[in-house]
């Protein structure tokens, strides 16, 4: 069993250097110091810990990596520039190794704040202070503690009461050097406001290993609506751990999509606390692991209030000796009556060496509920392949069609055509469909 080693660079000196470098306010400095103490007091997970049982821990190792301190150069990679040109986003931002290197467009709706966290701390300190660490905090895991202590930059998005932002907003988090890095996203959607936000992680080949930590905090006030996409398509030297957690007040609605396509290994924890009656959470996930990639998707649908709904669908395909773990739990608290909670995981195994683990779980402590979960794992259906071949398709083409169709069920539920097109292109490039390059 692999035991993870600590990184000597993660310590008081690094935290104090960050605080001094950015001239951070005292409250934040104290938060960082406390987070570091929590980090130091928390052991690294091992395979004996239930939620890390199937994780190839050594692939997430951080020892020996230097803390990333800004990009090598401030240029924007073509792949990102073209995505921005091509997108229908109202505004976008590129954060490279913790530094904002590009801003495009601006948000027209009044009072909306869409900027990086460093700028937000300067211009909207009270707002940041009220919500930062309120959803994802250091006590949740070793990785969350590391992020809380050492995050350098990230996105801050605030949509005021009753404001609807019509077009999507997005941040590209990218890197051109390896090491150990931590970023953060904080989204606050006020009463009856509405917005779509895309968090994309992408890079050209870096040439050295990068261990990126991300924490995504989402606060949805009464009646707030958010469509949130987390799209991970890092180059193959990168490993990422991301905890995405949302807190939903009365009648709030979250539609989330978590996509894992890139990197060497990635762990996404997608969690919602349905704290208000009538709140709803649609949780979609898509992953396609090839060439030995290792993905972990851990989900939580926490029904703390009555009359809430959550509906989860995670679909994944695996090939080339890849491994994927889906583990999700629906928790219904005592008193959370009239809960509707659903959870589905489907895996497609494209070769014998790949391994899929699926653990859909229920913990129900109220009786007037409708809860179900389902999981299936299997190969590309032979009869479907046969049908397509009988219509003249070559075997590999038939497989491309069927894998794309299998994953498309997830994308069809997301009304973001540009994101869907891009995901489809990356999937086809991974499948080796002739003429499709992943770029753009």
């Amino acid at each position: 069993m692999a035991l993870l080693q600590d990184n000597a660079a993660v310590g008081e000196a690094a935290v104090e250097a960050l605080i001094a470098r950015f001239g951070e306010p005292d409250w934040l400095a104290e938060e960082r110091r406390a987070a570091l103490r929590t980090y130091q007091a928390t052991p690294f997970p091992t395979n004996r810990d239930e939620v890390w049982r199937y994780t190839q821990l050594e692939r997430f190792a951080i020892d020996g990596l230097a803390l990333v301190d800004g990009p090598r150069d401030a240029g924007v990679a073509d792949r990102i520039a073209m995505r921005i040109t091509d997108s229908d986003a109202e505004a976008a931002m590129v954060i490279k190794n913790g530094e904002v290197v590009h801003r495009a467009g601006r948000v027209g709706e009044p009072g909306v704040v869409f900027t990086d966290l460093r700028t937000a701390l300067r211009d909207h300190e009270a707002l940041v202070r009220r919500h930062l660490y309120s959803v994802v905090n250091a006590t949740m895991s070793k990785a969350a503690a590391l992020d809380a202590a050492l995050w350098t930059n990230g996105t801050f998005l605030y949509v005021p009461r009753d404001v609807e932002v019509t077009l999507p907003l997005g941040t590209f988090t990218t890197a051109d050097r390896g090491g150990l890095s931590a970023g953060r996203t904080l989204i606050v959607v006020d009463v009856n406001a509405k917005v779509t936000f895309v968090d994309e992680y992408t890079s050209d080949p870096i040439g050295e290993r990068l261990a990126h930590h991300a924490a995504t905090e989402i606060v949805l006030e009464d009646g707030a609506k958010l469509r949130y996409v987390s799209l991970q398509n890092w180059s193959r030297e990168v490993v990422q751990q991301n905890k995405i957690r949302a807190r939903l007040a009365r009648d709030a609605r979250l539609e989330s999509l978590t996509v894992s396509l890139g990197g060497d290994a990635a762990r996404a924890e997608v969690e919602v606390d349905l704290e208000g009656p009538g709140s709803e959470s649609e949780m979609l996930g898509l992953y396609f692991a090839d060439e030995g990639q290792h993905y972990n998707q851990y989900t939580l649908q926490h029904h703390a209030s009555d009359h809430a709904l959550s509906d989860l669908l995670f679909k994944g395909a695996l090939r080339d000796a890849s491994t994927a773990v889906y583990s999700g739990v629906i928790v219904v608290d005592p008193g959370a009556q009239k809960t509707d909670a659903y959870q589905t995981n489907r895996n497609l195994l494209l070769d014998a060496e790949s391994e899929a683990v699926s653990i859909p779980q229920l913990e129900i402590k109220a009786n007037d509920v409708k809860c179900s979960h389902g999981s299936t794992t299997g190969p590309v259906p032979e009869d479907q392949r046969f049908y397509l071949m009988s219509r003249g398709l070559r075997p590999e083409v038939a497989e491309h069609v069927l894998v794309t169709g299998f994953l498309y069920e997830v994308m069809s539920r997301v009304t973001l055509p540009r994101v869907a097109e891009y995901v489809e292109r990356v999937v086809q490039a991974k499948l080796g469909v002739p003429g499709v390059k992943e770029k753009l």
Binding site: V357, I359, N367
Partner: protein, 478 residues
């Protein structure tokens, strides 16, 4: 011997007040034991057990090795709360009156027969049933095996006698399916096992009438560690049934059995058990079958009683075309935690399995399904399907589902589905509008929910199950 060890006082009626089922299910007989080990789990106790049983040297060594393993392993850190289970307060071995197993119903002690009567098992039924091994305390005291089976070479004995009379056969298979290293409670059982059944069915022999063993706990704070070993030779076919009901005593009791089943080529073995231990028993059982080529193993696992049950019948499909099936029902009422489930390991091509789990939680009861489906590389075209349905009867009832699915084979087809629901108000309303009182309506719906399992049971068990459900549902309104 009988006087060497102090007898516990006869529990007074006041102690039993407040316990559920004090009407029909609170029976206890005066204790009258020939030998009882000291309390606690120690090397000395293990040596005493082996000495009392006059066992061969290898078994004593095995027991002592298992004890060492148990000491190293420690209790599992997952699952239900076992913090109230104190080994130092438990007798690990009691031998009823130094008596050898008997062959005739008339020889069965009156108090055992009285217990059966209280359970509602008529004597006529006993006689009709082919062979009955009743485990009263730690040892089988009653055996009756039909003559024609003996002619066919069928062996159905208590495990202690099995070890004495068929040492080679016993040693060859014992602990090959569940080694003491497997888990903590299997190690404890291996150290102190006593009683259980030894079943051997020769090649090609088919038995139509189920083999049955009833056994009971009757000594306060006494652990029961039965060890059952079932061997189905190639082409054999039989059904083994075990039911147990315990009197309600008021200090925690501990039951930790190990069931080992070997299903050889083309053999077809069914193992059915409905446990209805009193609500103070910790029931922590390891049940496992190994299935060879084209063999078939079926488990029916019913959990109605006990305070805490941890039981996950597992099936290792080792040979091509092997098949495994588990039907599991659990009924958790106030204060009970039924942590049951199934494990199926597909280790060969064209293996198939199916698991159906039905659970009901009532009052503050909690029922959990914990399962594992594993498809190993090379187990081509393996198919497995798991269905779990949970019914919640009250606001405070709880249910969990923890299915683990590990797939390492491209051609595997694996599915899992679970649903959780409450009693349907419309159905209750309909039945009441037809004149049924509310509790009868609820009981009817619950029986309907369990019907897919009940119809797999032999008639007398289905009747008993229905009677138990009705009892559980009594007074559930208001």
């Amino acid at each position: 011997m009988a006087d060497l060890f102090p007898q516990d006082a006869h529990p007074d009626a006041a102690k039993l007040e407040g316990l559920r089922h004090t009407e029909q299910y609170s029976f206890y007989m005066p204790e009258n034991y020939a030998f009882r080990s000291e309390k606690g789990l120690t090397k000395r106790v293990v040596e005493q057990i082996s000495y009392q049983k006059n066992e061969p040297e290898w078994m004593l060594k095995f027991r002592l090795r298992a004890l060492e393993i148990a000491e190293k392993k420690g209790r599992p850190k997952w699952g239900p709360d076992l913090s109230h289970l104190d080994f130092d307060e438990i007798y690990f071995y009691i031998r009823p009156q130094d008596r050898k197993g008997t062959n005739s119903w008339d020889d069965v002690p009156e108090e055992v027969r009285e217990t059966y009567r209280r359970l509602g098992i008529p004597e006529a039924e006993q006689k009709m049933l082919a062979g009955v091994g009743a485990q009263y305390e730690s040892e089988m005291v009653y055996h009756n095996l039909k003559e024609e089976w003996e002619k066919k070479g069928v062996i159905f004995l208590d495990s202690d006698t099995g070890l004495q009379e068929h040492p080679e056969l016993f040693k060859e298979h014992f602990a090959t399916v569940v080694p003491p290293e497997d888990n903590y409670f299997a190690a404890v059982n291996s150290a102190v096992w006593s009683g259980g059944s030894f079943v051997y069915v020769p090649a090609g022999v088919e038995i139509d009438v189920p083999l049955q063993a009833y056994f009971l706990i009757n000594a306060q704070s006494m652990g029961q560690f039965e060890r059952t070993l079932i061997i189905g030779e190639p082409g054999s076919r039989f059904h083994y049934i075990e039911g147990c009901t315990a009197p309600t005593y008021n200090s925690d009791s501990f039951h930790s059995g190990v069931i080992e089943i070997i299903v050889k080529e083309r053999a077809n073995v069914r193992y059915s058990t409905i446990q209805n231990w009193s609500h103070n028993v910790y029931n922590l059982v390891t049940q496992r079958a190994i299935v060879q080529r084209h063999g078939s193993m079926g488990w029916l696992d019913g959990n109605l009683g006990s305070k805490v049950t941890m039981k996950y019948p597992s099936t290792y499909l080792m040979g091509e075309g092997a098949h495994g099936e588990v039907l599991s029902i659990a009924f958790a009422t106030d204060g009970q935690h039924q942590d049951a489930g199934a494990k199926v390991i597909h280790a060969a091509p064209n293996t198939t399995s199916s698991v159906v789990s039905k659970s009901i939680s009532k009052g503050t009861g909690r029922s959990s399904y914990r399962g594992l489906v594993q498809i190993h590389e090379g187990a081509t075209n393996a198919r497995s399907n798991v269905e779990c349905d949970a019914l919640l009867l009250d606001e405070h009832a709880k249910t969990d589902t923890y299915p683990y699915i590990e797939i390492n084979e491209k051609t595997a087809h694996v599915g899992h589905e679970a649903t959780v629901s409450k009693l349907n108000d419309e159905q209750i309303f309909y039945l009441m509008s037809r004149g049924l009182p509310e509790d009868a309506a609820m009981a009817l719906i619950v029986r309907g929910f369990l019907d897919p399992v009940a119809k797999e049971l032999p008639l007398e068990y289905a009747v008993e199950l229905n009677r138990l459900i009705e009892l559980e549902m009594e007074g559930s309104v208001g």
